[in-house]
């Protein structure tokens, strides 16, 4: 009898019927043809003729396919048959698998909950950190064609400044001589006292080239940007303000354009208001005025304080721009040997400048959360393996009924992807919650930090991560299910089958990798914590407790001469010191760790003048009497300033111990003299050292103290005090309002800003380090918990499987202690293997963190040893509970249990 099935099947192929339905139709039709064939034979036809007749019957009308298509258009809902023909029916099978998977998950709510939560933690952490990375690192800057925006720096590596802020004259030459930039703009920070509308306020802003806004490609929301003719002294009393300031201080009044406002005691006309989204360079900047160099500034090559931004012409590469700038810089070197000898030019992408500092920390964190997710995957894979062992009977049955192994793998993968999808969904919720917490710890100076949200990209990221995750952790159980030996399983009772022991091996492997990965994470966190402790243990040189600080900048217009300013400060200190709760008060040009202050070059009495680029630089602060006492800076030698150090008395200074050691090594510094500026025969007065104080970390905690000196503010005619510090015996901030009121009693229009306790300032100065440490710490703890759960799970499972064996051992005389030892030993073996692998990996990987560390090496032995001990003890604890259960096995029960 010829087989007509293939003939029929071929004609049905592109109908995409469900496999069951197709089989049925094929069977029925082939029977019809066979009947036809037999009848032809009976009628006297030869076999060929009969076959031909049957096939003709099939071909007779071309109606079969279109008619069937109309009838069978919809795939019918079939009873669930797992297995069967696997090719070409992906969609129908997928639907089947999904429904089946959902039922399986619903049947084991405990398992499902644990797995979903583990995954949600892993995926949520990834989504949260990715959304930070997405906003801070990946999102293009909100300017027109931001990829063509660059910063241009002076390169002065010889003096330790590979990227220095350019001097105005150099900027002007660069701008006028280059052919690679469409435009170039300079900015420099400036602060304003805004008065005349409500409380006086100190507002940060920038002096900017008139073309800055068009260079960035942003338009004001209201009014206009600056005109070229406003970029000149005398014409520059115009101002563009931020959306925030406009709303906050001017009630979003659209009539603000053209109105005068009072800044630093002078009148400026408002010409524009920027859109809400605009920030440049930081969110703090709220006012922009034309930079308007005067002739003196435009010719200055000695003071380096500008930031220069430029837009590369289309078609020009960064390298070409760099080459051109190098040429111009070397021309300037020859032209101005006195100032430009060692000054080159560097072009860097603006984006790099904006995200530069935080990048390494974010990348380390991204790596960390990936690790956490890996551990979560290993845990869920373990759970699935354990469950696959329980489901051996089901798998065996399906294989016996003819299910293909591929089909089984697909079913298992569908289940795990389903789990991951749920994990991803809940993880996204975790991410949303986590982000709102995270935002509070993000250092405020990170660009666009507040714009961090879960956007489409983060959603796609989460979906992809979830799917990949599902495939990764589903693979082990799926292949195990597919590889197991049908015969063995059906023959045995199912408790101790070969697949079980193979599963144990995979489970062991998973635990080892979990331990290794969490070890790496813990090392990372340990190093950061350790480094942070180092940071916090640094003696800043002053005592931060119980100090209230604030910024008070006197406007030059109102306080034109030094005498007036002196009167204000003395009166302020006098009044503040009479307030209840105040111990003492002082003013200074700037306070430590506030990222501001001045340095000067000095000449030393009796020394030959050094080359211009070797002049000693000293950090300089002008202070009032009792500043050291108020700040808690110990006086080591000599005396501090008093009220008697007046403008007309002999000029005196107090220096830091490093200054004394570097300038007069082995000598007594008291009575020695130095002079601000050089050469030493300049007209400046010699200053006599009357005291030596302890070094203070002026700019950053991590930077070794450089030479410092202090001058009485009465004797210095440059650098005005801007900071008030008050030593109290109360909670410092509780005094803030009173002190501010005192300022306003003296001058109603005097803004007070940056009110903070000194402890706040210190803690803000390490915000970045704290951010990395805190997050990595959280992720590492998460990893530790997940790893502990993983070890616990595997040990419990293995103990449950070995109940019988343990029963026999105990029946043969093993003691509880022996069983404990046996079980814990088994767990410990896995953990120690993991730790050894993790140790090797961490040794290599921790080097990527070196830029985040302070005071310790990336292979700090103490951290490595401590973490190993922590991990091993947690592991022992995690296997102790199952071990205890094992040791309580009742031999009678265990032996009877079958």
């Amino acid at each position: 009898m010829p087989d007509f099935k293939e003939e029929i099947r071929r004609r049905l192929a592109d109908l995409r019927l469900s496999p069951t339905r197709e089989n049925e139709i094929v069977e029925e039709l082939s029977q019809h043809l066979e009947d036809h064939y037999e009848q032809s034979l009976r009628g006297g036809a030869t076999e060929e003729e009969a076959y031909q007749a049957a096939v003709d019957e099939l071909n007779e009308s071309d109606l079969l396919k279109p008619e069937l298509k109309r009838v069978e258009r919809r795939v019918q809902r079939e009873p669930l048959v797992i297995g069967g023909d696997s090719k070409a029916h992906m969609l129908g099978d997928l639907w089947q698998d999904l429904r089946y998977g959902l039922r399986m998950l619903a049947k084991n709510p405990g398992f499902t909950t644990v797995a979903v939560i583990a995954l949600a933690l892993g995926i949520g952490a990834n989504s949260a950190i990715f959304s930070v990375v997405n906003t801070v690192l990946l999102r293009p800057l909100p300017y027109k064609n931001p990829e063509r925006l660059v910063m241009v720096w002076e390169e002065n590596s010889k003096q330790g400044y590979p990227r220095d802020t350019p001097a105005a004259a150099n900027y002007v030459d660069w701008r006028d001589q280059n052919h690679v930039f469409e435009d170039m703009a300079a900015i420099v920070e400036i602060s304003f006292n805004l008065t005349g509308v409500g409380d006086p306020e100190r507002i940060d802003g920038q002096r900017v080239s008139a073309s800055l806004f068009s260079l960035l490609g942003v338009e004001p929301q209201l009014g206009r940007a600056f005109r070229a003719e406003e970029d000149k002294p005398g014409a520059n009393h115009v101002v563009v303000m931020s959306h925030g300031l406009w709303q906050r201080r001017f009630g979003a009044d659209p009539a603000i354009i053209g109105r005068p406002i009072n800044l630093n005691g002078e009148s400026f006309t408002v010409v524009g208001v920027m859109p809400r989204s605009f920030q440049f360079p930081t969110r703090n900047d709220q006012l922009w005025v034309p930079i308007a160099f005067d002739a003196k500034e435009a010719g200055n090559r000695g003071s380096h304080y500008l930031e220069v931004i430029a837009r590369i012409k289309p078609g020009i590469t960064l390298q070409e721009a760099q080459a051109e700038m190098t040429t111009i810089a070397s021309r300037l070197q020859q032209q101005y040997p006195g100032t430009n000898t060692s000054i080159g030019a560097v072009v860097t992408p603006l984006h790099e400048h904006v995200v530069g500092d935080i990048k390494p920390a974010l990348l380390v964190l991204l790596g960390a959360v990936a690790f956490v997710l890996l551990i979560a995957c290993a845990n869920v894979a373990n759970l699935l393996l354990a469950r696959a062992a329980v489901r051996q009977k089901e798998i065996a049955l399906r294989l016996a009924l003819g299910a293909g192994r591929q089909r089984l793998i697909r079913q298992f993968l569908t289940e795990s992807v389903l789990l991951a999808a749920f994990g991803g969904g809940i993880g996204l919720l975790f991410a949303v919650v986590g982000l709102s917490v995270l935002k509070r710890f993000i250092p405020p100076n990170i660009s666009h930090a507040q714009a961090i949200t879960i956007d489409a990209k983060v959603l796609i990221f989460t979906v992809v991560v979830s799917l990949v995750t599902g495939l990764i952790f589903g693979l082990a159980p799926a292949t195990q299910a597919a590889n197991f030996n049908l015969n063995d399983t059906l023959k045995e009772s199912g408790r101790d089958s070969a697949a079980g022991s193979r599963g144990n091996r995979i489970r062991g492997l998973l635990v080892v990798s979990e331990v290794a990965v969490s070890f790496i994470l813990l090392i990372g966190a340990g190093l950061l914590i350790n480094s942070f402790l180092h940071l916090r243990n640094i003696d800043p040189g002053f005592r931060a407790e119980k100090k209230l600080t604030m910024k008070i900048v006197l406007p030059e217009v109102r306080y034109a001469d030094k005498e007036q300013r002196g009167v204000f400060y003395r009166e302020l200190i006098r009044r503040v010191e009479t307030l209840p709760g105040v111990v003492s008060a002082a003013v200074a040009t700037s306070l430590p760790l506030t990222e501001s202050g001045n340095s000067v070059g000095v000449s030393i009495e009796g020394r030959a003048d050094p080359a211009p680029d070797r002049v000693p630089i000293v950090i300089t602060r002008m202070i009032s009497p009792r500043y050291f006492e108020t700040m808690g800076i110990p006086l080591l030698k000599g005396r501090a300033f008093t009220e008697e150090d007046k403008a007309e008395s002999p000029a005196v200074i107090v220096i830091s111990e490093t200054t004394a050691r570097q300038f007069w090594p082995g000598e007594d510094a008291l009575g020695k003299q130095l002079k601000i500026g050089f050469p030493s025969n300049s007209e400046n007065k010699w200053l006599t050292v009357i005291g030596v104080v302890k070094d203070v970390r002026q700019y950053e905690l991590v930077v070794e103290p450089k030479p410092q000196m202090y001058l009485p503010f009465t004797q210095a005619n440059f650098f005005e005090p801007r900071a008030l510090v008050v030593k109290t015996n109360l909670e410092p901030l509780s005094l803030a309002a009173t002190v501010r009121k005192t300022v306003w009693e003296i001058d109603r229009d005097q803004p007070v800003s940056n009110i903070a306790s000194m402890e706040n300032i210190v803690s803000n100065s390490v915000a970045r380090q704290r951010f990395s440490m805190l997050l990595l710490g959280i992720f590492a703890s998460l990893a530790l918990v997940l790893a502990a759960v993983g070890i616990y799970g595997v040990m419990s499972y293995s103990v449950a499987q070995r109940t019988h064996e343990i029963g026999i051992r105990m029946a043969l005389g093993a003691q509880r202690g022996d069983v404990l030892k046996l079980t814990i030993g088994q767990g410990l073996r896995l953990v120690v293997t993991g730790v050894i692998i993790g140790l090797a990996a961490a040794f290599v990987l921790s080097r990527v963190m070196s830029s985040l560390l302070f005071g310790i090496s990336p292979t700090d032995p103490l951290t490595f040893i401590t973490i190993s001990l922590v991990l091993v003890s947690v592991a022992i604890l995690a296997s102790y509970i199952p071990a205890l259960r094992a040791s309580r096995v009742d031999p009678m029960f265990a032996l009877r249990y079958e």
Partner: protein
């Protein structure tokens, strides 16, 4: 002449389509039959005038089954391969009664118009 031939061909198809459901329902009325048997009976009883091939018979069966008028079941008989037998359902029986009387009216109407006498 080509025209009448094509004309009769179309008429044939239309007639068959309209009557086919009725034919099948009638054939499974008294007892369940399988597809080949149904096809054979139609050809036999119509004395070769009506012939359904695989491509038109089975889709028709499936459609009737889908409408719930007939019901197919796999039946195994001794020393035979299993076959799918179709039987009339209760719903099918009602439809059959209705169609029969419709058909009768239709044929009578045609007869009255054309004057063709009943054989």
């Amino acid at each position: 002449m080509a025209m009448p031939y094509i004309g009769s061909h179309i008429l044939d198809r239309e007639l068959k389509k309209g009557s086919a459901e009725l034919l099948i329902l009638s054939l499974v009325e008294d007892r369940p039959r399988h597809g080949y048997e149904i096809g054979q009976l139609i050809e036999l009883r119509s004395r070769g005038v009506l012939h359904f091939n695989v491509g038109s018979l089975y889709p028709l069966l499936y459609r009737l089954e889908k409408r719930g008028w007939i019901r197919g079941r796999w039946v195994e008989k001794a020393s035979q391969r299993r076959r799918r037998y179709y039987r009339l359902t209760a719903a099918g029986a009602k439809v059959l009664t209705a169609q029969r009387s419709n058909w009768r009216e239709f044929v009578q109407a045609i007869t009255r118009v054309t004057g063709v006498a009943h054989a």
